[in-house]
């Protein structure tokens, strides 16, 4: 019984999101079964019926879009010893704060017409704007391998290994052809690594879904984009796809 009790209790929660990050955890397949063996998963609504208020680690997916979300998030914060922001929505809001770029009344009218007031909503915020977040698993969606590394570190009581260097480092290690030479633009030079340079490795540009490195050289990056004939609007658009909340905080 005491050995049973010693297993860390882990819970998963979600707010406004596509739930794709929890899906990546299900997608771990066999590895997930090992993870399940090392802990007690006490709540994971997307995959199981049971629920509980007694947990040590809370993984929270999604962003905060209404007052009633705040109450639930604060309750989770109170119950959890460690609160982890799972994925870009929880970390930066991901694409959702694009909503904040327009007046709220207009946003409601576009989707619900004259019935907009039936629905509770306010400007989108990431978790850290409401509660203290202990650790982040970045990305849209999260990288499964990175999640397992963070998970192991948390169980061992260590600092989760999230890289401090940019995506370009991983891209170079993979010997990818730089997407700039293919005529595209890319935010790899300022974006935090850890995804294995997923998009440039598939000849797509990095759009900073993982957020920026600690001291990004933004002016240099914007100059590079301008040299590649991007207009001010285009540059803004590239920086706001996944990072509009971060940009608005400057």
């Amino acid at each position: 019984m005491s050995a049973e009790k010693a297993k860390p209790r882990v819970a998963f929660f979600d707010f406004a999101s596509c739930e794709g990050c929890q899906l990546q955890i299900v997608n771990l397949e066999e590895v997930l079964l090992d993870v399940v063996g090392a802990v007690d998963i006490v709540e994971f609504r997307e995959a199981m019926k049971e629920s509980s208020n007694d947990y040590d680690i809370a993984f929270v997916e999604g962003c905060i879009t209404r007052e009633s979300d705040e109450t639930r998030l604060k309750e989770i914060r109170k119950n959890a010893k460690v609160l982890v922001a799972l994925g870009a929505c929880a970390h930066t809001g991901c694409v959702h704060p694009l909503k904040n770029l327009k007046p709220l009344e207009e946003v409601k009218r576009i989707v619900y017409g004259d019935k907009g007031d039936l629905f509770e909503t306010y400007p989108v915020r990431p978790l850290s704007a409401v509660v203290t977040v202990d650790c982040v698993v970045p990305g849209c969606p999260i990288d499964r391998t990175e999640f397992v590394e963070v998970f192991k570190a948390l169980l061992a009581g260590k600092k989760p290994p999230i890289p401090a260097y940019p995506v370009c480092v991983e891209c170079r290690l993979k010997e990818n052809e730089c997407v700039y030479t293919l005529g595209m633009t890319c935010l790899g030079p300022v974006t935090r690594a850890g995804c294995g340079a997923r998009c440039p490795s598939n000849r797509s540009s990095c759009e900073a879904c993982r957020g920026f490195v600690d001291n990004p050289r933004m002016n240099a990056q914007k100059e590079i984009l301008a040299e590649h004939n991007l207009t001010v609007d285009d540059i803004l658009r590239q920086f706001t796809m996944y990072c509009s909340y971060l940009e608005a905080q400057k």
């Binding site: 019926k49 969606p141 000849r203």
Partner: protein, 432 residues
């Protein structure tokens, strides 16, 4: 409280994607209230899309749903191509069809294996099944991984793929990857049969319930329609995709952050069962064999049979994926330019995603900036039908113990495989 009086309030129904609630109030044997309510936080994607550029919309709308991100991307790409009057190459279309089959497999196996099987086996999640029936879980895990790898190979990522772009792909799978994938698909047939056998042994636990309704799905003369077709219905002749608003007739109800839809009746159903009913004649022989093994017939009237239709489609998707790989390898994959001339215009597209027909509709200005967007998601089209099923079901089972009613209502909702965060999220039942 007398046994004839029961209040149920299930908040945040589990093992579904998104947040929904079920409210039931039975007083002295009479049903006073029965409500399916979507409480997912609305996310306003259409408003986010306005002001974004033509080559960003597939990546943006992909984020509507983690489970059907591929389907959203394909509907988005097709709508943009229609607006720009661009016709993608045959190779691009084949690769997209393969990607869509991968998503269908991925999603159906996840739903039937991880989310529905626990109900049929009488447990709360797949975790106890790893001990009580490890062989069945092994089959589900292997099939699910294979489906995910298919999507990785073609799309560059399982969820929110990165290679599919307007008028092409940024990168192609290598022929060796496709050859290997085909071998593994062929080898998965044994696993599929094992999954069918597991379901056959527990399918009797699906509640006995039927209700007449209208079914809507894409239809095509040439194939079991998923990627393209006309909008078919069990109640009427097919109509063009551009006329989708005549089909969906969305309306807003206060109990739900998701919109509802109706066509010829008070509600209609979309999804695997709708597709099967309208297109069963186009299924491959192995899929038809499985349908007859599992007792699925074109006159099925039970929403619970959607689970079985998903299994039938799983088999069909494996067969069809192998056929497409053969065509791609025969033709030889070649790099193709995807550049296009941006123009102003409106484009409407429909794709069958795992949960049913999905519509995207965009208008662009002359710079390719989106000025109008509308996305109608399958689960939204099912909400009214779920509500009406629930009313009939509750009335039929109101004498049963509370726990039995709860379980059946949850199973009903799950059988639609609702994607509530898509439709905005889903529900749960609680007894007061």
């Amino acid at each position: 409280m007398s046994p004839a009086t029961k209040k149920i309030e299930l908040h945040h129904v589990t093992r579904v994607e998104g947040h929904g609630n079920i409210y039931v109030d039975i007083e002295n044997g009479a049903v006073k209230r029965c409500q399916w309510a979507v409480v997912e936080a609305p996310r306003f994607f259409e408003a986010m899309a306005i002001g974004r550029k033509w080559d960003e919309l597939n990546f943006l709308t992909s984020r509507i749903c983690g489970i059907c991100s591929i389907g959203h991307q394909l509907a988005s790409l097709k709508a943009t191509e229609s607006a720009m009057a661009v016709k993608p190459s045959e190779q691009t279309v084949l690769l997209r069809k393969l990607l869509l089959l991968g998503e269908n497999l991925q999603s159906h196996i996840l739903h039937v294996g991880y989310l529905v099987l626990p109900d049929l086996a009488g447990v709360g999640s797949v975790i106890p099944l790893t001990k009580s029936n490890p062989a069945a879980v092994g089959v589900v895990v292997r099939l699910h991984r294979l489906a995910n790898e298919l999507c990785d190979i073609v799309g560059g990522r399982t969820t929110h793929p990165v290679r599919a772009v307007v008028n092409g792909f940024t990168m192609l799978p290598r022929p060796r990857e496709l050859v290997d994938l085909r071998k593994r698909l062929e080898a998965s047939i044994d696993d599929l049969q094992a999954l069918v056998n597991v379901l056959k042994s527990v399918a009797g636990n699906l509640p006995a319930f039927e209700r007449d309704t209208e079914y809507v799905a894409l239809v095509s003369n040439s194939e079991y329609a998923l990627y393209d077709g006309l909008v078919g219905s069990t109640d009427a002749k097919p109509v063009a995709v551009e006329d989708y608003l005549k089909v969906t007739n969305e309306y807003i109800v206060p109990q739900s952050t998701a919109k509802y839809a109706k066509y010829h009746r008070a509600s209609y159903a979309v999804g695997a069962l709708a597709r099967y009913k309208l297109n069963h004649a186009k299924l491959s022989d192995p899929a038809r064999k499985v349908a007859s093994e599992l007792g699925l017939t074109p006159d099925a009237r039970s929403p619970f049979m959607n689970n079985i239709a998903q299994v039938v489609e799983t088999v069909d998707s494996v067969v069809e994926a192998m056929n497409i790989i053969d065509l791609l390898l025969m033709g030889g994959l070649k790099e193709e330019p995807s550049a296009l001339k941006v123009k102003a215009g409106r484009g409407v597209a429909a794709v069958e995603v795992p949960r049913g027909i999905l519509f995207h509709d965009y208008t662009y200005d002359e710079n390719g900036i989106c000025v109008m967007a509308n996305c109608i998601i399958p689960t939204n089209q099912n909400h009214a039908n779920i509500q009406l099923d629930m009313e009939k079901l509750v009335d039929e089972i109101k004498e049963e113990p509370r726990e039995a009613i709860e379980l059946k209502l949850e199973m009903l909702v799950r059988s639609y495989d609702p994607c509530i965060s898509c439709s905005t999220h889903m529900v749960k039942v609680r007894w007061l």
